[in-house]
């Protein structure tokens, strides 16, 4: 099952965990499974069906915007990271 890394400030909404395993064969499915387990995360990550503007998601080390966004395939051994976009510069 893919592992999802959760940014520190959101851990209170994920049972205090820094990561969680979530079932799915695409990023969208994995995040749906994650937010089903932790419903408080849903509105924080998503605006309707779309990821929020300042939420970046990576599969292993690649930004999903350079892949297939939420349709990006995810294998069981992959790591999905949720990273706040508002940094740097």
């Amino acid at each position: 099952m893919p592992l999802v890394r959760i940014p520190t400030p959101l851990r209170p909404h994920a049972g205090g965990n820094d990561s969680a395993q979530a079932e799915g064969s695409t990023v969208g499915e994995v995040l749906n499974a994650l937010t089903s387990a932790y419903p408080d995360l849903r509105s924080r990550l998503f605006d309707g069906e779309d990821l929020r503007r300042f939420v970046n998601v990576y599969v292993n080390n690649e930004d999903i915007r350079f892949l297939e966004d939420l349709d990006t395939p995810v294998a069981a051994a992959d790591e999905v990271s949720i990273i706040p976009a508002v940094a740097g510069g």
Partner: protein
């Protein structure tokens, strides 16, 4: 200074408006929106006046009441108050009668505008009790965090891409900071820093301290307005990497206007300059896109601007459109030509980002976005000494002669017959 009142309400989410207390946090946990320092401008009125500001030190800290510190600055006490140069010769070359250069290439202590943001971020880091600080950097920030942290006795971790100019790398390591070069580009370094900052509980200036950090850029705008006789210019041309500076310069003008300190209403058009090899914000402006399309592999000699996924790109593109400005990008040859033109007309050697700014200014004139009579300020943000690689093979080397009068006379005769140099041709073409 030490008894000045504090006017900060807290950190406000730019998306949902929710207020958060002053803390090391850069995004709203409710929607990931950027947090921005929120001030009580009504309370400032009467306390913050032209006279009170002018009575302050000849540094960025004369604007301390408009910055988010709870006490006096402890880091970077001599930063800012750089010259606003009336650039007549460059103006003639570009076709602008009222051109100014805000010259942060001579900012103290590390020769870039980054000293402004670092001074605020590290002073805040001290207030919040951090002992270890850090940053992700394309170069200028690396040097500034390293230098200012060393002077403040803070431990510093500096993360950079592994392809930076030697001057930028040396300009960070010399201060004793722990400099870590990562394989890959800036955006990958930046992502790693987002994880490090929260994981280790360190104060990363452009991650968890970013709301405070970004406010430091306002001082460039405050100084421009003051130096123009308490007026906002008609246009500002600003280089864009993460896209924060352009917004903060405009915010500075609006804050002075809100406080009733300007002669005229702010009608400044904001112009953003990028390199063609990394132009996500310029591209969004030119295509009226609502989302920034990140650039996967930035490729430009303007490495300090090589941020493919700019955090403030969306806000920068909105601001540019809303103020009636525009954005363009220029290639490496145009960047070098811009650097040379600024050097040869004004005696200012800016880094590659300065070449971007000059070259884009020229394009804005050619495209009719800037009019000859506009009062235009170019933001020059870094020093050419740090990006020598960009020029070293493109500038003529000195001619070698024996130390005799005869050789010198021969040399003069041969150069008189030779073609004039590049910038000379540019000037001649512009009727100088």
């Amino acid at each position: 200074m030490s008894h000045r009142p504090h006017f900060v309400n807290g950190l406000k989410c730019r998306l949902c408006g929710k207020m958060h207390g002053q803390q090391a946090l850069n995004f709203c946990p409710d929607d990931f929106g950027p947090l921005e320092v929120d001030y009580d401008y009504e309370a400032m009125k009467g306390h913050v006046t032209r006279d009170s500001l002018l009575a302050g030190p000849a540094s960025m800290w004369r604007y301390a009441p408009l910055l988010p510190l709870s006490g006096p600055a402890t880091v970077g006490k001599h930063v800012g108050y750089t010259p606003l140069v009336r650039a007549e010769r460059l103006g003639k070359a570009l076709g602008l009668k009222n051109l100014y250069v805000k010259n942060d290439a001579v900012n103290h202590p590390t020769l870039s505008f980054k000293d402004r943001v670092v001074a605020v971020a590290l002073s805040k880091a001290v207030e919040l009790g951090f002992k270890t600080v850090g940053c992700a950097s394309t170069g200028n920030l690396a040097g500034s965090v390293a230098a200012n942290a060393s002077a403040a006795g803070l431990e510093a971790y500096i993360l950079i891409p592994d392809n930076l100019e030697q001057g930028k790398v040396l300009g960070a390591t010399v201060y004793g900071a722990k400099v870590v070069a990562c394989t890959g580009n800036y955006d990958q370094v930046n992502r790693l820093c987002s994880q490090i900052a929260f994981q280790f509980g360190w104060g990363f200036v452009n991650v968890n301290l970013r709301p405070f950090y970004a406010e430091g850029s306002k001082t460039m705008g405050f100084e421009i307005a003051e130096q123009l006789g308490w007026r906002a210019p008609d246009a500002v041309v600003v280089p864009m990497a993460g896209g924060s500076l352009i917004g903060k310069i405009h915010k500075a003008f609006k804050e002075l206007e809100t406080l009733g300190l300007l002669e005229e209403p702010v009608q400044t058009r904001m112009f953003g300059a990028q390199a063609t090899g990394c132009n996500p914000i310029a591209n969004a402006v030119k295509t009226s896109a609502n989302k920034i399309k990140p650039v996967r592999n930035p490729d430009t000699i303007a490495k300090s601007l090589a941020i493919g996924d700019p955090a403030d790109g969306y806000f920068a593109s909105q601001l540019i459109r809303n103020t009636g400005g525009w954005s363009e990008d220029v290639n490496d040859d145009e960047i070098v030509e811009g650097m040379r033109l600024l050097a040869e007309t004004e005696g200012i050697w800016a880094e590659t980002a300065g070449g971007v700014t000059v070259a884009v200014t020229r394009k804005m004139v050619e495209q009719g976005h800037l009019k000859p009579d506009d009062r235009v300020v170019m933001a020059i943000t870094g020093n050419g000494l740090k990006t020598q690689e960009a020029l070293i093979d493109r500038i003529a080397r000195p001619q070698v002669i024996r130390p005799t009068l005869e050789d010198f006379k021969t040399l003069l005769e041969s150069t008189a017959n030779a073609a004039s140099p590049a910038a000379g041709e540019i000037l001649a073409g512009a009727g100088v």
